[in-house]
Amino acid sequence: MTALDLINGLTQAIFVLIFLLVFVRTLRHTTPAHIDMSLFFGILAFVVAESRISGFLGVTPPVWFTDVLVALIVALPYVLLRLVDDFTRVPVLLKRGAELFLIILVAAYAYDSLVTPPVDPPIILAVVAYLAGLFFYCGAAFIAASRKAEGVTRRRMQGISLGTILFGLDILMSGIGGVMPEPDKTFLTATGQILGLASGVAFYLGFAPPSFLRRAWQAPELRNFLARAAELPRLPDTLDIVRELERGAAGATGSNARVALWDEDTKVLRMWREGGEAVEVMPGRFIAGRAFELQRTVFTTDPSKEDPADAESYRRSRAGAVMSTPITAGGRRLGVLSLFAERPPIFAQSDMELAQLLADQAAVILESRALIDHAARMKAQEEAMRLKEDFVSAAAHDLKTPLTTVVAQAEFLERKALRDPSSPADLQGLQRIVREGKRLAALVTDLLDAARLEQGRLTAEREPVDLGTLVSEVVARQQPAAHATDVDVRGAVVGVYDRRRIEQLVENLVENAKKYSPEATPVQVTVWQQDGEARVSVRDHGIGIPPTDLPKIFERFSRASNVDDRRFHGMGLGLYICRGIVEEHGGRIWAESEIGKGSTFHVALPLQDGRRLN
């Protein structure tokens, strides 16, 4: 025996050992995929071992034995086709056709070799065509599957594709070698043998990768997912977090993933379909619900048998294997992570650990999210509280200011009258009391309106109102004034409104326009109808509103920062009430402004009764 022979023999022995290992390992499971795998690797081991052993012993096996070997080799691509079917879908007709053709071929070959030897070339040709055809199909199917898959599944499919291609080449070499003269014959046969062994290894890595390789293939996707994990709790929407978790889990396991979240209030698990539609699952229902109830991982390669009640649902969603792991954070049940594969062999038993790791990571992310939400809620509550306190203290402050003048001034007048009853009336002092008393009354009215607005009942009885007439009347009441107010009514605009409140709205807007404009600048009020809405605009040539203040001016106690409080009294409730009136009518109010040039306030009201339903 030469050294080359020895190396050859040892290498082949190692391969046979690997194939036998897979054969034994897969034999322990009874799923169709495992049976196919044991068949495939068993045949490979047997064929390689046989050629070695008979070569070593120097015996020529009987013809029937060679025929059995040929039958097994011819059956190999058929078993491969079955494996393709385990990993991806193969048309039923093709499967049945391959079976039928296999039987015919083997029978014809056996008959020819046993009864009328040697075997006729057409039969050999048919065998080669059968082998090549099936290999071509299997290779193409696996390549297609690998392109669709991701993560570890993609790597496995690539391994299998490579194995199929190498095996095809092996058959080609051996076939050509058979009809070639020496020394090409030996060269081609030897090359074919090496290709065959390489394809065996590729098949091994693809079909039954050892755990360490699985881990290594899962690592990049897992790392990507973990690297992104820290940002996930800050995503704006819980559904976004769920989608990211699903994407990460799917990538790391090479399957499909669904995250269901436990709703403590309604006691249901909620998951979201692709379109975002929520589906509710009772605990105990489906495999996800069972994993949640049992609080442990449930793995099945036959969901229809595991959960017969929902068999139809699994068939419809083509879930051939399901692995569900509860998502739990320190005893708090948060939900379930479910991994689905259309084909069972996508998962290995060892993936349960990975699923657990992913579920734990999901728990951390969801728990962080809950904490962030909680903190935000607390902050909002505090903010609401502070606003309430602000409202009370601001209201008290603003009421006390005119009250100070009224009380002190009245007492002062009283004292003077008591000391010297004949003294002339202090007209300035009296005017001060009247002015501040009126200011007090206006503030109280505004405060009451604001309080009614908070309760959403600022407006009352609705009646048909001619806006043009209403605006003209309001403006006429306010004339004469330092500002010329021009009213432009473009056609009759009649809507169903609370007349008193709409008057108040127009009054406020026109008064504001005058208040914040230099004397003698005109104010333009326009009433028209546009796009089925009543429109009113009030335009001034005043100080304008800074762009940064513009979004806030309709808020409570908001005053533009360029407003001099000493010249313009007010609580900052006027525009807030205006907005309330408009919105209770189902309309909109907004402002455009340019500093130093003026502002235009726009109101759009529905023509029908646009009462907001509370």
């Binding site: 003048t405 001060r432 409080d565 000493r566």
Partner: protein, 150 residues
């Protein structure tokens, strides 16, 4: 906004052309009271009342005017409103402190926290709005008397 007021003892009528007139309480005329408030009605009322009581009174409508008057007029007492636009009471008190002024301040505010704010700025006392005529007069009298003793 800077106005001069004169007390005539019998009334708080405005007299823009005469600077300071002595009231009936001759001693009080040595007390110069500066009233600072952004609300003109309060400013007018307090000035009229204190002038009527015989104090020399000046009014400032804001923090900056107040600081200018402290420098030029040397009041013996400042009645200070806290919430004012542009320069508020805290800023006035800080500026006075930094300038080394030791004029006593009475905080005058409509907020609940009058006492706390008075402590914050090291004020001599506080007047919570709305105050009565007697509260105002007694408070000013008390601190003016203290000032005279020193």
């Amino acid at each position: 906004m800077l106005e001069f007021w004169a007390g005539h003892g019998d009334g708080g009528t405005q007299s823009g052309d005469s600077n300071v007139t002595m009231g009936k309480g001759g001693e009080r005329a040595h007390s110069r009271v500066l009233v600072v408030d952004d609300d003109s009605s309060i400013l007018d009322t307090v000035t009229a009342i204190l002038s009527g009581e015989g104090y020399l009174v000046m009014a400032a409508g804001g923090g900056k005017e107040a600081l200018a008057l402290v420098r030029s007029w040397h009041p013996t007492l400042v009645l200070l409103d806290m919430r004012m636009p542009v320069m508020d009471g805290w800023a006035v008190a800080r500026a006075l402190h930094e300038a080394g002024s030791r004029v006593p301040i009475i905080v005058m505010t409509a907020a609940e926290s009058a006492r706390r704010w008075a402590d914050e700025i090291g004020a001599a006392g506080h007047l919570a709005k709305p105050f009565s005529l007697d509260e105002l007069i007694q408070c000013v009298e008390k601190f003016s008397a203290d000032e005279r003793k020193n």
